[in-house]
Structure formats: structure tokens, C-alpha cells
Assembly symmetry: C2
Homo-oligomer: 311 residues x 2
């Protein structure tokens, strides 16, 4: 049932997304002692996997809903993803962005045809502004992670990875709002051959790790991480999927993330954002446990400010 | 005859090199107004196309010559390429490096099994040291660019590009010592369909541009360019090939190189070195001449110090 749903989802979004390349690195294999397959979602449209879920969410709307548009609040990759997915499908996208968001991010969203609505930079203000747009425009709210259609869309990255490498024993993905790791875990469950999914999460925003420990959704009181895509927290849709399908979460320090990021840039010649490097950082941290294993790594995205690199 | 030689060369080196991916970028196409195919030699072994020519040069030696090893002087990508190519083929490689070369470069050469011989940092001292190694060890000298077997090896990058995209109207490549652009031009002549080859060269080291103007090999009195792979000059083997087969050279400023490099990093998520960006910079500079053309771009390599980025 779930398997069929993911197959249908993949069919549905295929015309609008890239089947991104899977790359390998002999030198990183030597460092980890395992056999790694990197799914390069930094090459995805808008430079991140979020294009997958955003596209699926819009395609699941009725004609009438599409006619009234979609709305989300995000200052990150999901803002661009929803804007471009909507544009590709002839749908209006209202993107609530904090007034403090960098101009370059606003320009990117506007460049993809998104209609930017500014709000005060608090979470509550952003949520309220989005609700107003829902009411005023009749637009459908699409959450950047706590939405089952977004989760299923994101699952297609791991599905493609397993279609290419069917005998992966593990897949590592970063954990932010939980939609990517949830989708990855669902795909591994449906299409893998006893393939376990492991999350990487920064200590500085380890809400998902703590949530799995305590059995309830935990929050972060601070978000001092370079992995700015991972500052969001789990929701009532993603959390139960993590509980049921994710093997475990490995936490990493900021320094470990930067080391992993540098390794990917230097050895693989790929521009990846810090959030993407967290998955490899998690593997590097416990590499002795994964010797000789065949492992997939979801490189989630490559959007970052080249003027603010950590090296 | 030449065509058969290049086909044989490609067969010879295939087991030791990567057939690197060819990537496209919708957003860079929009900027240039043309249809671009980027040959990603930054994904080549050792991170640069030089692996091709180095491998071919060693494979063309007799058994006896191979037994005595090879020697070159280089502090750049060719040093690593010759070291790794030699290692793959069970041949000793003596690499003459200036005593002032960064430790990271020495480590890379040593990591590939190269035997490092230090010399004073002048060109003359490096040449003399290499000659001593030739005499003492009986090793065969392999020049980093002015060697027809190196040129033919490098030609295989453009050959692969044309096998994938047979109707390219132009191929752009950077110009340093001239081996890459020579090989590219030979491959375009043999395997292209009236495909012209255009070089990109920094104004700061425009010896090749001036050589084509004057009809004799010109030198650079200074080499103040960020494109450190392009500081070398033409030789008596590469220059006549440029004269006969290269359509023209377009010169670019340092700033234009950095803009092109940033575009490749941001839009394509690829780590490329400044020298590689010079080819795209040349196209950007005269993009109005190439509207709607189908163009190959050789992204020559991705080796650079992440601590010294120009942005």
C-alpha cells in the first residue's frame, strides 16, 4: 500500500524533478573504510531535495485548490522549491519570509515567480501571516516538513538511490524538520533489502535525538548551528515516522560538520551546504561501526552564501 | 592517421582514467544565451585532466624505460598526475618540486607515491635538477605540456565530449602550456562536425594570445593571475598545433575569471579551480557572438586551496 503510494508519487513528480547523479569517492571510502554512494541532491532543481516534496504537495491538490494557489513560510530552500514547483505547474505561490531575510534569498524566490509576503521575523508572526494569506486568498498552506505529501515526495531521492544500488545496508540523511529522514526511511522500508536509515543531527539542534529518547516532540531553546537547514523541529506527522522507521540518530559537533563538508568539497569537488555534510559527519564519527558496509548518503543540497564559508 | 592515433590513445588510457560526466545548467544557458555542455574534468582522477596525458606518456614508454622510471618538474596538477599514473602502472616517478611549494602539494604527490626531489624555486634550477635525475636514475623526462603524447592524452577529454554531443559548434578550453587546448583542437578536428576550438587566457599571462599574433613563442614577464594552472608557456610542440587548429584566443581579466568561477560554484554546485573558469569567462565576455550555439566547455580541474578563495 505504502509502496504503491511511493511508486505513484514518483511517477507523478518525475517530469518536474531531476533523477540526480550518484557519485562515489575512492578517497572518502578509504577514510571511512566503507563503500559510499552519494545521492547528489545539490544537483536537484533549486539546489536541494525540497523540490521533490514541494512538487508532490502541489500535484496532490484539487484543480480548484490549485486555482487559489499555495502558501508557506520559509526563508530557506523550501521557499524556493515551492515557488518553482508552483511556477512549473501554473499555480500561484505566496511565500511568507521574515523581513530580515537576506535580499539574495528574496531575490531567488522572486526569480522563481514566488509572491513574497514579508512578516516580522518571529515564528509566531510568520505563522499568523501565512494564516492570513490562507484566509484572504483561499490559498492552501503547505508546511515545509510536517506534511505527508512532502514526506512522500522527498522519499523519491532514496527510492532512486536504491534503484541504482539495491543492496545498500544503510542510508544516512540529515535531520531537520524530519521530512527528508522520514521519506528516506519509508523508501528504505519499501524498496530496500533490510536497509537501515540513520540520521545525522547537530548537537546544537538535537531536538529529534531527544524526541526519540523521551517519546515526545522536543524543542530547541537555541539554534547555534552552521547547518541552517536543520534548525526546524519535528511535527506530529514526521515524529511517528521517525519513531517507527529510523534506526537511530547520531549527533555531531559543529567542527565535525565543517570537517565533513570540507572533505566533500575537496575530494568530491562538490559544493554542498553544511546541512548536507551532517550525514557524512555522522558516519565519520562512528565509522568503526560501519566497516565494509555499503552505505548511501543523501547530499541534501548545495545552497549557501559563498561569502560566509567556514573555511 | 591522426584520428586513428587518438582512437588508439583513448583505448590505451581508458582503464586508468574516468570518462567524466557532462553536466548542463539551465541558468547559465540563460545567462549566455547558448546551449552549454560542461565536461567535468574536476571529477577526473587527481581532480584534473592532466591524468589523461600523464597516463598516455607513460604507456608509450618501452618496458626498459618504464623500469627506470619517469621524472618531471611541476608543483601543480601534473606532479600529482604523473605520480598517480606511474603508481597505477608500477613505474617510479621522480617529481622535482620547488622547496617553496606548499606542504599540502608535497603531501599530495607523496600520497600518490611520487618521489619528491626538492630544488631551488627558479625555473632553471628545477630544469637542472630534473636533468640530474634523468642522468643519475636513467629516468625518462616527461614535460607537463610540451610533449605530443601528453597532448594526445589530453585530447581524449574533448573526444569523450564529442562522443556524447556530436554536433557541438564550439569547444572552449583554457590555455596554459597549451597541451589541453592543443589536444582539444586535435580531437575537435578529428571527431567534430566542423567544431571550432576557442581558448580562454588571462590577460595577465597572455603569452599564447601574443604568440599567435606575432608568429613566434612569446613569454610572460610577470604571472600575476589567480589562474595558477595557466602560468606556463607554449612550447615548440604545442605552438604549431595552436597555430594550425585553434580558432582564436579570448583574453579575460582576473575579475571576469572570478565571476565565472563563482557562477559555476553557485549555479552548478561544482568546485572548479580558477583556471577552469577561464574558459567560461571567455565565452561570457563575447557571449553575443555565440547566441544559440551548441558549445562544449572543458572544466579542466578542481584543485585549489579552500583557505584562499577569491570570495
Amino acid at each position: 500500500m505504502l509502496k504503491e503510494q511511493l511508486i505513484e508519487c514518483h511517477q507523478r513528480i518525475k517530469p518536474y524533478i531531476h533523477n540526480t547523479p550518484i557519485l562515489t569517492s575512492r578517497s572518502i571510502n578509504e577514510i571511512t573504510g566503507s563503500e559510499l554512494y552519494f545521492k547528489c541532491e545539490n544537483f536537484q532543481k533549486i539546489g536541494a531535495f525540497k523540490m521533490r516534496g514541494a512538487t508532490n504537495a502541489i500535484l496532490q491538490l484539487s484543480e480548484e485548490q490549485r486555482g487559489r494557489g499555495v502558501v508557506t513560510h520559509s526563508s530557506g530552500n523550501f521557499a524556493q522549491a515551492l515557488a518553482l514547483a508552483a511556477k512549473s505547474l501554473g499555480v500561484k505561490a505566496f511565500i511568507v519570509m521574515p523581513s530580515t531575510a537576506p535580499q539574495v534569498k528574496k531575490d531567488a524566490v522572486a526569480g522563481y515567480g514566488g509572491i513574497i509576503i514579508e512578516s516580522e521575523p518571529t515564528f509566531l508572526a510568520r505563522e499568523n501571516t501565512a494564516k492570513q494569506v490562507e484566509q484572504n486568498e483561499g490559498a492552501t498552506y503547505v508546511d515545509s516538513s510536517n506534511d505527508i505529501n512532502v514526506v512522500k515526495g522527498h522519499a523519491t531521492a532514496c527510492k532512486e538511490l536504491l534503484e541504482n544500488q539495491s543492496n545498500l545496508e544503510y542510508v544516512f540523511a540529515p535531520v531537520g524538520g524530519g521530512a527528508l529522514i522520514s521519506g528516506t526511511a519509508l523508501a528504505a522500508y519499501c524498496f530496500g533489502n533490510n536497509c537501515k536509515v540513520i540520521g545525522g543531527e547537530p548537537f546544537e539542534v538535537d531536538d529529534a535525538y531527544r524526541s526519540l529518547q523521551s517519546g515526545k516532540i522536543e524543542s530547541n531553546s537555541t539554534t547555534n548551528t552552521i547547518a541552517d537547514g536543520l534548525k526546524t523541529e519535528l511535527g506530529d506527522i514526521t515524529f511517528p515516522i521517525l519513531q517507527k522507521y529510523v534506526d537511530r540518530i547520531i549527533r555531531v559537533t559543529e567542527e565535525e560538520t565543517v570537517i565533513a563538508m570540507r572533505l566533500i568539497w575537496e575530494r568530491m569537488k562538490l559544493v554542498v551546504e553544511p546541512s548536507a555534510a551532517v550525514a557524512l559527519a555522522a558516519l565519520l564519527k562512528q565509522k568503526q561501526l560501519f566497516k565494509n558496509k555499503k552505505i548511501g548518503i543523501i547530499l541534501s543540497g548545495g545552497n549557501l552564501d559563498l561569502n560566509k564559508l567556514p573555511f
